[in-house]
Symmetry: C2
Subunit: 114 residues, 2 copies
DNA sequence: CCAATGTTTCAAAGAGGCTTGAAATCTTGG
DNA sequence: CCAAGATTTCAAGCCTCTTTGAAACATTGG
């Protein structure tokens, strides 16, 4: 295995392939991160997430705001919920969705970034 | 359109559906964010991205570290590159990939988060 | 120029995510 | 209990992303 000169030195100081591999996160952590990234990788869900951070809303409001079908909205909300970005409380006949604490922090970071 | 009592007041103070919709980011910004989220939503790419933040590497090193085919690695690197998370410099026969400044900041934030 | 190595491109197959409408579930008011 | 509205579940089709191997391209050394 050849290694270009410009990186060989520092590469070997870091313990080579083994050294770097050992510092990488384990499967569970990778899964946690990728599931959140995937949740935010769809324009529908990102907009819903941003909207919920401004204002908790029931599904019917989200449907009314976006024009999407209930089943579509429900699917996307379930993705956001399964990775821990949002949760919901029941009020009478309504389910009101709102961001979790981690969800809100992530959104605030994104908003501050761009 | 019925609105549950617990949110009607604050919902209307925010200008209702129109008020909230107007504060949401435009299409281009949504696209920028979702493309980065999508890039980090695949375990292969997330690991490669984290590894490159420890140590710039040529493709052959990444291939050797992961056991993936060249074409597979190349595909994932192109996704990371297209959304601006990594870039590459040529050295002789090698292409050495490394994180962009924004790419590094995002990874550092992720690492600090979890 | 040729051979060897590193890397990307391409097309086809495979896998997984998204959309859709209908049906099922749940809650409340009568 | 029944009817109405809110929400979820389900299965099917569709579409996009990922994987794979072969071929093409690029760079270096001889």
């Amino acid at each position: 295995m050849e290694i270009p000169d410009s990186i060989r030195c520092e590469f070997e100081e870091r313990g080579g392939i083994d050294g770097i591999t050992k510092l990488l996160p384990g499967d569970q952590r990778i899964k946690d991160i990728t599931s959140i990234a995937r949740a935010l990788s769809d324009p529908v869900r990102l907009r819903v997430m941003l909207a919920l951070c401004m204002q908790p809303m029931c599904v019917c409001l989200l449907v009314s705001m976006t024009g999407y079908a209930y089943s579509k909205m429900s699917y996307h909300l379930s993705v956001l919920k399964d990775c821990g970005l949002v949760c919901a409380r029941q009020e009478g006949n309504y389910l009101i969705y709102y961001p979790t604490d981690p969800g809100r922090k992530i959104v605030e970071w994104i908003e501050g970034w761009w």
